[in-house]
Amino acid sequence: MIQFLSVSKQFSGGLAALRGVSFEISRGEFAFLRGHSGAGKTTLLKMIYREVEPTTGQILVNGRNVTSIPRRKVPFLRRSIGVVFQEFRLIQRRTVFENVSYLPQILGLGEQERRRLAYQTLRRVGLAQRMSALPHQLSGGEQQRVAIARALMNRPEILLADEPTGNLDPDLSWEIMRLFVEINRKGTTVLLATHEPTFIRAIGGRILTLEKGRLVGDEAVDGDGRFEDEQVDPYGVSEAKSQESKP
């Protein structure tokens, strides 16, 4: 699904963000990207949706060589990848509905279809009743869930998250992490960058460790069971799916 082949990145000024990184993440996998600040996690994620281009090496996403895609075709690559950031990146003057509707609008869907799609996706993250709210009227956790809904609008095959709980308190962080696990269980490949070991221990899965731009660890660990004991589907997505959807 995602393949890095000897990828290096050197920024102007000589700073090496990544050095010869190679790994492969399979379809449907849940992988953590671990490392201290400045280890190269963000750069690595940005390379997957070609926000940053590697200096050397190749990156394959779904069999397509991302490094050789013409610039004008990059938007089409990005439509198959959802991205979530630590700082949410919501547009404060736009409502929740408008914030999650960028892609459907770009794709030319009509207002009614956009509303239906937004309603379904926001219900998936437990915010269907807040479609008309502005981001500042929401809590941090709710804002991050809106950002996740935005990333899920086109049912992406890959979901990338860069420190998605970095701005949230522990309770809200757990909520968000459960949401990622649930999304992964529905078939989406998740690559989540974090330096928070608690989640990694609790959830388990593939762990890629970066240190000063080098991949120094690639292991699979089992979770400690906390996620199995607790309700993984915090917003009743499974139940909601069976109900008739209405915008």
Binding site: P75, R78, R89, Y102
Partner: protein, 300 residues
């Protein structure tokens, strides 16, 4: 996505952005309106002046003043000299008595001046119509020189002299219009570019999100191009409305001003109006294109 839906989206976003920063948008619109108004004023003046000169040129004559007591033989000789020119139109002989009569009709308040003269005060003359299109400048100068050297000819008055000066003035006016218009248009384009760069800066977070979710550059830039276009066309419309109001104020039917009666008789042609609108649209779009280099839309 249908073209109509895209254009509707571009237009809606452009209007939202213009209203969001209406003060600077108004500044850009005023700048372009000012430049097109000034260029339009020059165009209006030069067009009317051109038309006036064209009319005058049709009526222009070469007047050969003759000796008061010219003999029939000398008159025949001069007439023969005159008719050598291929460009000659109608030749009218004006006797001294006819010249006096004309003067008295034209200037009735000073006709007493002529009564103090014992003989005919004004010389007889030949008034020669001509077709300037047929004139060869060198041949014409030779012809004029031969006429002036004839002993029966007192003077030759050539209307072309001041028409040439007027032509030079119109050319100067047009050059001035070009320089002023282009300079002001440059300033307007720069202002629009700055305003749109500011708008792009205000929307940088939204642009970053749109890029992230897979919007094409065309989709991202479209509203900004529309914003420039609206400012350019809006400025041109304001300028043309202003120019038309000024025209109504100065034109001979509603004004007694000399400028109105002499120079402002016809408003700009539809072609000129459409041309100015097109210049406004082009200036606005160019400003937008200049401001939307990739780095200006890049996220922080």
């Amino acid at each position: 996505m249908s073209i109509l839906r895209i254009l509707t989206y571009f237009f809606g976003e452009a209007i939202t952005s213009l209203l969001r920063s209406w003060r600077v948008s108004l500044l850009a619109l005023s700048t372009i309106a000012m430049s097109i108004f000034i260029a339009g004023t020059f165009l209006l003046l030069s067009n009317n002046l051109d038309r006036l000169v064209h009319d005058w040129r049709r009526e222009a004559k070469i007047i050969v003043y003759l000796e008061s007591n010219i003999s029939a033989e000398a008159l025949g000789r001069v007439t023969e000299l005159v008719e050598r020119g291929d460009w000659i139109g109608e030749v009218e002989t004006v006797t001294a008595a006819e010249a006096r009569l004309r003067f008295e009709e034209t200037f009735p308040s000073v006709k007493e001046l002529l009564e103090t003269w014992q003989d005919e005060p004004l010389p007889p003359s030949l008034e020669i119509g001509f077709d300037s299109a047929l004139m060869d400048r060198e041949l014409f100068d030779d012809w004029l020189s031969t006429l002036r050297q004839d002993p029966a000819v007192v003077a030759v008055d050539d209307d072309r002299d001041w028409l040439r000066q007027l032509d030079a003035f119109i050319r100067l006016l047009r050059s001035l219009a070009m320089v002023v218009g282009v300079s002001l248009l440059g300033a307007a384009i720069f202002t629009i570019a700055s305003v749109i760069r500011l708008a792009a800066y205000l929307y940088r977070d939204e642009i970053a999100v749109m890029r992230l979710v897979g919007a094409t550059e065309f989709y991202i830039r479209g509203p900004f191009y529309f914003e420039g276009l609206i400012q350019g066309v809006g400025g041109a419309i304001v300028a043309l409305v202003g120019l038309y109001l000024a025209f109504l104020l100065l034109n001979p039917q509603s004004s007694t001003l000399l400028l109105g009666t002499v120079l402002i008789e016809e408003f700009l042609s539809w072609n000129a109006i459409l041309g100015l609108l097109a210049i406004g649209a082009a200036a606005g779009t160019l400003g937008a294109v200049m401001s939307l280099r990739r780095e200006s839309l890049a996220p922080d």
